[in-house]
Symmetry: C2
Subunit: 450 residues, 2 copies
Amino acid sequence: MPFEITKDYIQKIQQLIAEDKEDTLLEMLAEVHYADIAEIIEEIEYSEAIYIIKLLESDVTSEIIAELDEDTRENILKGLSSKEIAEEISELDTDDAADIISELSDKQIKEVISHIEDEEHAKDIIELLRYDEDTAGGLMAKELVKVNENWNVLTCVKEMRAQAEEVTRVHSIYVVDDNDILKGRLSLKDLLTTSTKTAIKDVFIKKVDSVNVNDDAEDVAKIMQKYDLEAIPVVDELGRLVGRITIDDIVDVIKEEAEKDYQMAAGISQDVEADDTIWELTKARLPWLILALFGGFVSVSILGGFQEAMNKYPVLFFFTPLIAAMAGNVGVQSSAIIVQGLANDSLRGSYFKRLLKEVSQSLLNGFVLAAILMSAGMFFLGFELKVGITVAISLISVIIIASIIGTFIPIILDKRGIDPALATGPFITTSNDILGILIYFSIAKLILGF
Amino acid sequence: MPFEITKDYIQKIQQLIAEDKEDTLLEMLAEVHYADIAEIIEEIEYSEAIYIIKLLESDVTSEIIAELDEDTRENILKGLSSKEIAEEISELDTDDAADIISELSDKQIKEVISHIEDEEHAKDIIELLRYDEDTAGGLMAKELVKVNENWNVLTCVKEMRAQAEEVTRVHSIYVVDDNDILKGRLSLKDLLTTSTKTAIKDVFIKKVDSVNVNDDAEDVAKIMQKYDLEAIPVVDELGRLVGRITIDDIVDVIKEEAEKDYQMAAGISQDVEADDTIWELTKARLPWLILALFGGFVSVSILGGFQEAMNKYPVLFFFTPLIAAMAGNVGVQSSAIIVQGLANDSLRGSYFKRLLKEVSQSLLNGFVLAAILMSAGMFFLGFELKVGITVAISLISVIIIASIIGTFIPIILDKRGIDPALATGPFITTSNDILGILIYFSIAKLILGF
């Protein structure tokens, strides 16, 4: 039963802001989840947004600010003083705080940090700022519940109660030794069902998955998914417990990764959204279009080289867009399947088997399509048998070659440590367009002998 | 620190199976996570896989079976009796159990269910089989911890300990009334920090998000992401608590959704993987290729209609693949951005604003590309100024039209309740190819007057 933000609702809020009715607004918004208020903020004017941020308490506004789109957040933060930002930051978990603060200038970061009253919190945030955002360190939060293996359950529960106050969600209780080295974990469930007199040493689970602060965010996502983990502890080079990553942070990584592959396949070179500026959108789109344009030049030259065929077989030129389109479509299909297989680590079997599979599939598709082409072409478009055979053979050849290229270019890129998704979309379409036209006219020359 | 499955390791296992060394195998595999054993099973022969499944205890093999790819699982289950399957199923949470059992025939389902000893478990699984897999009911598990609002904390803790034995992960404690109607929740953290003498009525949080059993799985995913929930209770039409969905189930929904959009953009009409059979892959790919082929026929006819231009301006025909490719690429880019925006509910602003934005972006891209085309075309390819102007104007027009189509077709489909991702890929490329060629030759006729 999600809350529905209607136009009427937003207008009502805008009206209350215009009339400066603080109490009514406070009463209305008290019922609304911060994620919904964040959506409302995205819809209203800047001055209205600032009004609401300044009106509400910082325990709510901090969460709202963490939810906002980056662009909106940047604007809102510009409207707040360093002290005000520090107040928001103080309410957030260290990972969210570090994410927000990292968007500020170095000078402002220092100012904001100096205004954070809780020194421990400030120190943790500064530590997190050190890590690259695409690593485990960039994802983790410092908030976690840890106990010393040398404690007994009684001390443990007391300590945990204190620590749990700081932690939004308790997933696991991590067990460390005197040097803070991660030794294992204690599940909450075990704690619920174990007698309070037991010693930690005797009760904790000695096996615990962990990742290193420098591990790649995507690898962390894969591990957490594979082993069905809701949280994973992060250790430094010495094995000391430095943070933990929860599944909700991983959801974003997984989503972004899948969306990035899709955008690359569509010829968009960086993470953009429909509501980014025209300039950002153009920057993401133009490079691929220029690549496609140069590919187009190559096909213009190839076709120019076969100009002498125009007098005898003009119909050949009518089929070039069809052949090029089929080559492009087949290539994109093949590459998409492989890129997803690589992303999910689900490709099995030898290269030779894969080649065989692509070729047999292409033959199957190719013969069906060629049969349709032959019958439709000869009965409805009415061209010569020789031309029909030429186009049909070209179609089958082009489909086979395009699918082999679509399959193996991503595999080769992946082997060399390059993101295979790069090879999908415009790159595959353009190269297959060119190759398709070249194969088509070469076969035509061979059969028709112009 | 994930476990690395090497070729050597798999060979060693295969050798041990060949030599029938049960004890050594058991010892080796005792150290390995079930998710890793599932990966090993995918790599080895069928008879070897069955050997391992029969060797290990059902508390491990049940988890392995739940992790397997659908195809492998189907095969493995064929090698087990209904009684053996029932043993596996009995170890699993109800949601995983229902997922596996739903793949069997109706007759076998009955047999398997009849062999499950825990009647409550069997009843729960049968209930879950009723729901469509794309709904909240299809995602939820029956395992949850619930307490009655009329209990006191002492009864509550006692009951919870018993219930917690059944539940793998305790997220929230749900509070119901005497009629099982969901009233609110109790957080584990609160329980850790609250005195044991408090009455539940006085301590539980009266606000709790929930979804209906019939809600769409994707909507559940959106709600859980938006409100940062790790678990959400599921209620029936009367508001009675019937199950709960956890974030790890949602991770799969999110991933599948993003992958589906990508596959659609690549012209693959159903969820396939690289290791599916040739027949399944062809079924997923051929329909789009046939669509593209018919689109190709249309472009053949259009070009045929402009045959008279061939004598005077053969170079025009050399440019058709370039124009078609640019139209296709631009259309795919625009539609991908909109489809992702729709999927994330992040599109804001009026249609008119969006139109304006697309047109200004296209003009920007179009002018840059036309300038490159003019200079490259005239200096290197050496064609007449009139032809250059014709191609350049066509290019800009085609880019504008293609981006408008790419933007608004997904929006219109979405308005009508059709998955907008359908409009990306081959559909957009094909229609933009055709339209591009038509616009190009119409403009050429207007300027060059052939």
